[in-house]
Amino acid sequence: VVDGVVELRVPGDLSWRNPVLRFVTEACRLISRGADADPEAQATAFEAEAVSAFGEAFNNVAIHGYDAASPGLVTIRIEWLHDRLVIAMTDDGRTFDPGSVVPPNLDDLPESGMGIYIMKSFMDQVVYQPGPPNRLHLTKLRSSPQSDARRSQPLTSSAELPGDERPALELGQAGGGVRNGGNARSGFRRRAMQPQKQPLLGGGATGPQGRAGDLEAVKPAVARAGRK
Protein backbone atom coordinates (compact mmCIF):
# COMPACT_ATOMS: atom_id res chain seq x y z
CA VAL A 1 0.00 0.00 0.00
CA VAL A 2 1.36 3.39 -0.97
CA ASP A 3 0.38 6.80 0.25
CA GLY A 4 -0.97 9.04 -2.46
CA VAL A 5 -3.07 12.00 -3.36
CA VAL A 6 -5.25 12.50 -6.41
CA GLU A 7 -7.24 15.65 -7.10
CA LEU A 8 -9.55 16.81 -9.84
CA ARG A 9 -12.10 19.52 -10.45
CA VAL A 10 -15.26 18.98 -12.48
CA PRO A 11 -18.63 20.65 -12.96
CA GLY A 12 -21.12 19.72 -10.23
CA ASP A 13 -23.52 18.24 -12.76
CA LEU A 14 -25.01 14.74 -12.93
CA SER A 15 -23.59 14.25 -16.40
CA TRP A 16 -20.20 14.10 -14.68
CA ARG A 17 -21.28 11.47 -12.17
CA ASN A 18 -20.22 8.44 -14.19
CA PRO A 19 -16.73 9.64 -15.13
CA VAL A 20 -16.10 10.91 -11.60
CA LEU A 21 -17.16 7.62 -10.04
CA ARG A 22 -14.93 5.74 -12.44
CA PHE A 23 -12.13 8.04 -11.41
CA VAL A 24 -12.73 7.42 -7.70
CA THR A 25 -13.00 3.68 -8.27
CA GLU A 26 -9.77 3.53 -10.20
CA ALA A 27 -8.01 5.78 -7.71
CA CYS A 28 -9.04 3.52 -4.84
CA ARG A 29 -7.87 0.49 -6.78
CA LEU A 30 -4.62 2.00 -7.92
CA ILE A 31 -3.66 3.36 -4.55
CA SER A 32 -4.70 0.33 -2.54
CA ARG A 33 -3.44 -2.42 -4.83
CA GLY A 34 -0.59 -0.72 -6.61
CA ALA A 35 0.11 0.29 -10.19
CA ASP A 36 -0.11 -3.30 -11.45
CA ALA A 37 -3.68 -3.71 -10.22
CA ASP A 38 -5.83 -5.80 -12.50
CA PRO A 39 -8.35 -3.41 -14.06
CA GLU A 40 -10.79 -6.29 -14.51
CA ALA A 41 -10.59 -7.42 -10.91
CA GLN A 42 -13.84 -7.53 -9.04
CA ALA A 43 -14.54 -4.64 -6.74
CA THR A 44 -13.75 -5.25 -3.12
CA ALA A 45 -16.24 -4.46 -0.41
CA PHE A 46 -14.05 -1.51 0.54
CA GLU A 47 -14.21 -0.05 -2.95
CA ALA A 48 -17.92 -0.71 -3.28
CA GLU A 49 -18.70 1.05 -0.03
CA ALA A 50 -16.40 4.02 -0.64
CA VAL A 51 -17.73 4.55 -4.16
CA SER A 52 -21.32 4.22 -2.95
CA ALA A 53 -20.80 6.87 -0.28
CA PHE A 54 -19.00 9.23 -2.63
CA GLY A 55 -21.67 8.79 -5.29
CA GLU A 56 -24.36 9.91 -2.89
CA ALA A 57 -22.27 12.91 -1.89
CA PHE A 58 -21.78 13.93 -5.51
CA ASN A 59 -25.50 13.45 -6.18
CA ASN A 60 -26.34 15.79 -3.31
CA VAL A 61 -24.17 18.58 -4.67
CA ALA A 62 -25.36 18.12 -8.26
CA ILE A 63 -29.06 17.79 -7.43
CA HIS A 64 -29.47 20.00 -4.37
CA GLY A 65 -26.37 22.15 -4.16
CA TYR A 66 -26.20 23.57 -7.67
CA ASP A 67 -28.79 24.58 -10.21
CA ALA A 68 -28.68 22.20 -13.15
CA ALA A 69 -28.74 25.09 -15.61
CA SER A 70 -25.57 26.64 -14.23
CA PRO A 71 -23.61 24.21 -12.08
CA GLY A 72 -20.49 25.38 -10.31
CA LEU A 73 -17.38 23.33 -9.83
CA VAL A 74 -16.63 20.50 -7.42
CA THR A 75 -13.10 19.79 -6.29
CA ILE A 76 -12.48 16.18 -5.31
CA ARG A 77 -9.36 15.18 -3.44
CA ILE A 78 -8.65 11.55 -2.73
CA GLU A 79 -5.96 10.87 -0.17
CA TRP A 80 -4.77 7.44 0.78
CA LEU A 81 -2.79 7.14 4.00
CA HIS A 82 -1.42 3.97 5.52
CA ASP A 83 -4.56 3.28 7.50
CA ARG A 84 -7.35 5.20 5.79
CA LEU A 85 -8.92 6.67 2.68
CA VAL A 86 -10.03 10.30 2.82
CA ILE A 87 -12.23 11.77 0.08
CA ALA A 88 -12.65 15.54 0.37
CA MET A 89 -15.23 17.40 -1.71
CA THR A 90 -15.39 21.18 -1.97
CA ASP A 91 -18.19 23.10 -3.65
CA ASP A 92 -19.75 26.55 -3.69
CA GLY A 93 -23.37 25.46 -3.92
CA ARG A 94 -26.20 25.72 -1.44
CA THR A 95 -25.27 25.12 2.15
CA PHE A 96 -26.28 21.86 3.71
CA ASP A 97 -27.74 21.50 7.21
CA PRO A 98 -26.80 18.07 8.61
CA GLY A 99 -28.98 18.53 11.66
CA SER A 100 -32.11 18.72 9.57
CA VAL A 101 -31.82 15.32 7.98
CA VAL A 102 -34.17 12.70 9.33
CA PRO A 103 -32.81 9.14 9.13
CA PRO A 104 -34.90 6.93 6.86
CA ASN A 105 -37.23 4.39 8.38
CA LEU A 106 -36.17 1.32 6.46
CA ASP A 107 -39.23 -0.59 7.62
CA ASP A 108 -41.34 1.77 5.52
CA LEU A 109 -39.40 0.96 2.34
CA PRO A 110 -38.48 4.58 1.53
CA GLU A 111 -38.07 5.57 -2.09
CA SER A 112 -35.84 8.56 -1.34
CA GLY A 113 -33.89 10.19 1.49
CA MET A 114 -31.33 7.36 1.76
CA GLY A 115 -28.19 9.14 0.56
CA ILE A 116 -26.95 10.46 3.88
CA TYR A 117 -27.70 7.13 5.50
CA ILE A 118 -25.58 5.35 2.90
CA MET A 119 -22.74 7.82 3.42
CA LYS A 120 -22.79 7.46 7.19
CA SER A 121 -23.13 3.69 7.08
CA PHE A 122 -20.33 2.99 4.65
CA MET A 123 -17.78 5.51 5.92
CA ASP A 124 -16.15 5.71 9.33
CA GLN A 125 -16.37 9.49 9.51
CA VAL A 126 -18.48 12.02 7.61
CA VAL A 127 -17.70 15.65 8.41
CA TYR A 128 -19.38 18.59 6.76
CA GLN A 129 -18.31 22.21 7.02
CA PRO A 130 -20.74 24.79 5.65
CA GLY A 131 -19.21 27.34 3.34
CA PRO A 132 -18.66 28.93 1.10
CA PRO A 133 -16.91 26.86 0.13
CA ASN A 134 -18.73 23.84 1.54
CA ARG A 135 -16.41 21.04 2.53
CA LEU A 136 -17.25 17.40 3.00
CA HIS A 137 -14.75 14.86 4.28
CA LEU A 138 -15.48 11.17 3.94
CA THR A 139 -13.05 8.93 5.82
CA LYS A 140 -12.87 5.17 5.64
CA LEU A 141 -10.44 3.10 7.70
CA ARG A 142 -8.77 0.18 5.98
CA SER A 143 -9.18 -2.20 8.87
CA SER A 144 -12.61 -1.05 9.91
CA PRO A 145 -15.04 -3.95 10.36
CA GLN A 146 -18.36 -3.43 8.67
CA SER A 147 -20.78 -4.09 11.44
CA ASP A 148 -24.40 -3.35 12.05
CA ALA A 149 -23.41 -1.92 15.42
CA ARG A 150 -21.30 0.80 13.83
CA ARG A 151 -23.98 1.60 11.30
CA SER A 152 -26.56 2.21 13.97
CA GLN A 153 -24.38 4.42 16.16
CA PRO A 154 -23.61 8.12 15.72
CA LEU A 155 -20.16 9.07 14.52
CA THR A 156 -17.95 10.18 17.34
CA SER A 157 -14.57 11.45 16.23
CA SER A 158 -13.15 14.91 15.64
CA ALA A 159 -15.40 17.43 13.94
CA GLU A 160 -12.74 19.83 12.70
CA LEU A 161 -11.32 19.81 9.23
CA PRO A 162 -7.57 20.22 8.98
CA GLY A 163 -6.28 23.68 8.21
CA ASP A 164 -9.45 25.62 8.85
CA GLU A 165 -10.78 27.36 11.93
CA ARG A 166 -14.44 27.34 11.00
CA PRO A 167 -16.64 24.87 12.82
CA ALA A 168 -17.57 21.65 11.12
CA LEU A 169 -20.41 19.27 11.77
CA GLU A 170 -20.52 15.54 11.69
CA LEU A 171 -23.53 14.22 9.84
CA GLY A 172 -25.93 12.67 12.26
CA GLN A 173 -25.06 15.14 14.95
CA ALA A 174 -28.08 16.56 16.76
CA GLY A 175 -28.89 20.06 15.70
CA GLY A 176 -31.55 22.53 14.75
CA GLY A 177 -33.84 22.38 11.78
CA VAL A 178 -33.42 23.83 8.34
CA ARG A 179 -32.47 27.46 8.37
CA ASN A 180 -33.31 29.96 5.68
CA GLY A 181 -35.98 27.63 4.42
CA GLY A 182 -35.07 24.46 2.68
CA ASN A 183 -35.71 20.82 1.98
CA ALA A 184 -36.34 18.82 5.13
CA ARG A 185 -35.52 15.57 3.34
CA SER A 186 -32.25 16.60 1.78
CA GLY A 187 -31.19 19.25 4.29
CA PHE A 188 -30.18 21.70 1.58
CA ARG A 189 -31.28 25.30 1.90
CA ARG A 190 -33.06 27.14 -0.83
CA ARG A 191 -30.76 30.12 -0.84
CA ALA A 192 -28.15 29.56 -3.52
CA MET A 193 -24.55 30.63 -3.19
CA GLN A 194 -23.15 32.27 -6.27
CA PRO A 195 -20.89 29.76 -7.96
CA GLN A 196 -17.33 30.89 -8.43
CA LYS A 197 -15.96 30.97 -11.93
CA GLN A 198 -12.91 28.76 -11.99
CA PRO A 199 -11.20 27.02 -14.87
CA LEU A 200 -11.08 23.27 -15.10
CA LEU A 201 -7.73 21.77 -14.38
CA GLY A 202 -6.08 21.33 -17.71
CA GLY A 203 -8.95 23.07 -19.46
CA GLY A 204 -10.68 21.92 -22.58
CA ALA A 205 -12.91 19.29 -20.98
CA THR A 206 -16.07 19.52 -23.00
CA GLY A 207 -17.65 16.10 -23.17
CA PRO A 208 -18.82 14.65 -19.85
CA GLN A 209 -20.37 11.48 -21.23
CA GLY A 210 -17.95 9.02 -19.77
CA ARG A 211 -15.45 8.43 -22.55
CA ALA A 212 -12.01 7.41 -21.46
CA GLY A 213 -10.54 10.67 -22.66
CA ASP A 214 -12.67 12.73 -20.35
CA LEU A 215 -10.72 11.73 -17.31
CA GLU A 216 -7.49 12.59 -19.01
CA ALA A 217 -8.90 15.93 -20.08
CA VAL A 218 -9.09 17.18 -16.52
CA LYS A 219 -5.52 16.04 -15.86
CA PRO A 220 -5.75 14.92 -12.25
CA ALA A 221 -2.58 15.62 -10.33
CA VAL A 222 -1.04 12.52 -8.84
CA ALA A 223 1.69 12.90 -6.30
CA ARG A 224 3.39 11.01 -3.58
CA ALA A 225 2.49 12.18 -0.12
CA GLY A 226 4.27 11.64 3.12
CA ARG A 227 2.55 10.06 6.03
CA LYS A 228 1.14 12.39 8.58
Binding site: R17, L21, Y117, F122
Partner: protein, 101 residues
Amino acid sequence: MTHTRTDEGEETTLRIEGTLDAVTAPELRSVVDDLVSEQRRGVTLDLSSLRLIDSSGVGLIVALFKRVKANGGQVRIVGLRDQPRAIFRLLRLDRVFPGGY
Protein backbone atom coordinates in the same frame (compact mmCIF):
# COMPACT_ATOMS: atom_id res chain seq x y z
CA MET B 1 -27.52 1.49 -18.57
CA THR B 2 -29.35 -0.85 -20.91
CA HIS B 3 -32.40 -2.95 -20.23
CA THR B 4 -34.20 -5.85 -21.88
CA ARG B 5 -37.82 -6.75 -21.24
CA THR B 6 -39.04 -10.29 -21.93
CA ASP B 7 -42.70 -11.30 -21.49
CA GLU B 8 -43.86 -14.90 -21.09
CA GLY B 9 -47.54 -15.14 -20.24
CA GLU B 10 -48.13 -13.17 -17.07
CA GLU B 11 -44.45 -13.16 -16.21
CA THR B 12 -42.04 -10.42 -17.19
CA THR B 13 -38.28 -10.49 -16.83
CA LEU B 14 -36.54 -7.14 -16.88
CA ARG B 15 -32.78 -7.40 -17.24
CA ILE B 16 -30.88 -4.27 -16.24
CA GLU B 17 -27.23 -3.85 -17.17
CA GLY B 18 -24.63 -1.26 -16.24
CA THR B 19 -25.45 1.55 -13.84
CA LEU B 20 -28.83 2.43 -12.34
CA ASP B 21 -28.41 5.79 -10.67
CA ALA B 22 -29.64 9.38 -10.54
CA VAL B 23 -28.61 9.76 -14.18
CA THR B 24 -30.18 6.62 -15.63
CA ALA B 25 -33.12 5.88 -13.30
CA PRO B 26 -35.37 8.41 -15.06
CA GLU B 27 -34.82 6.51 -18.32
CA LEU B 28 -36.28 3.39 -16.73
CA ARG B 29 -39.28 5.07 -15.13
CA SER B 30 -41.43 4.71 -18.24
CA VAL B 31 -40.71 0.97 -18.25
CA VAL B 32 -41.87 0.77 -14.64
CA ASP B 33 -45.00 2.75 -15.51
CA ASP B 34 -45.75 0.32 -18.35
CA LEU B 35 -45.35 -2.75 -16.13
CA VAL B 36 -47.72 -1.26 -13.58
CA SER B 37 -50.32 -0.03 -16.06
CA GLU B 38 -50.32 -3.44 -17.78
CA GLN B 39 -50.84 -5.03 -14.37
CA ARG B 40 -48.10 -7.59 -14.82
CA ARG B 41 -48.58 -10.25 -12.14
CA GLY B 42 -45.02 -11.41 -11.87
CA VAL B 43 -41.94 -9.28 -12.50
CA THR B 44 -38.42 -10.65 -12.20
CA LEU B 45 -35.54 -8.21 -12.16
CA ASP B 46 -32.38 -9.82 -13.47
CA LEU B 47 -29.58 -7.77 -11.91
CA SER B 48 -26.72 -10.12 -12.69
CA SER B 49 -25.17 -7.52 -15.00
CA LEU B 50 -25.95 -4.50 -12.85
CA ARG B 51 -22.60 -3.01 -11.93
CA LEU B 52 -23.57 0.01 -9.83
CA ILE B 53 -26.69 1.36 -8.14
CA ASP B 54 -27.36 4.41 -5.99
CA SER B 55 -30.23 5.55 -3.81
CA SER B 56 -32.13 6.84 -6.85
CA GLY B 57 -31.95 3.44 -8.51
CA VAL B 58 -33.01 1.72 -5.32
CA GLY B 59 -35.92 4.14 -5.03
CA LEU B 60 -37.12 3.18 -8.50
CA ILE B 61 -36.98 -0.55 -7.72
CA VAL B 62 -38.81 -0.03 -4.42
CA ALA B 63 -41.46 2.00 -6.24
CA LEU B 64 -41.87 -0.83 -8.75
CA PHE B 65 -42.23 -3.33 -5.91
CA LYS B 66 -44.89 -1.27 -4.14
CA ARG B 67 -46.94 -0.59 -7.25
CA VAL B 68 -46.87 -4.15 -8.58
CA LYS B 69 -47.73 -5.46 -5.13
CA ALA B 70 -50.66 -3.02 -4.93
CA ASN B 71 -51.94 -4.64 -8.12
CA GLY B 72 -51.72 -8.05 -6.50
CA GLY B 73 -48.48 -9.01 -8.22
CA GLN B 74 -44.99 -9.86 -7.09
CA VAL B 75 -41.48 -8.59 -7.85
CA ARG B 76 -38.48 -10.89 -7.55
CA ILE B 77 -34.79 -10.14 -7.92
CA VAL B 78 -32.14 -12.52 -9.19
CA GLY B 79 -28.42 -12.19 -9.71
CA LEU B 80 -27.65 -9.43 -7.23
CA ARG B 81 -23.92 -9.09 -6.60
CA ASP B 82 -21.03 -6.78 -5.70
CA GLN B 83 -21.84 -3.11 -5.03
CA PRO B 84 -25.60 -3.43 -5.66
CA ARG B 85 -25.71 -6.32 -3.23
CA ALA B 86 -23.94 -4.25 -0.57
CA ILE B 87 -26.51 -1.46 -1.00
CA PHE B 88 -29.47 -3.85 -0.84
CA ARG B 89 -28.13 -5.48 2.31
CA LEU B 90 -27.46 -2.12 3.95
CA LEU B 91 -30.99 -0.94 3.22
CA ARG B 92 -32.36 -4.28 4.47
CA LEU B 93 -34.08 -4.99 1.19
CA ASP B 94 -33.19 -8.66 1.59
CA ARG B 95 -36.41 -8.84 3.61
CA VAL B 96 -38.37 -7.76 0.55
CA PHE B 97 -36.39 -9.57 -2.13
CA PRO B 98 -35.21 -12.77 -0.42
CA GLY B 99 -34.44 -14.53 -3.68
CA GLY B 100 -31.83 -12.05 -4.83
CA TYR B 101 -28.89 -13.38 -2.86
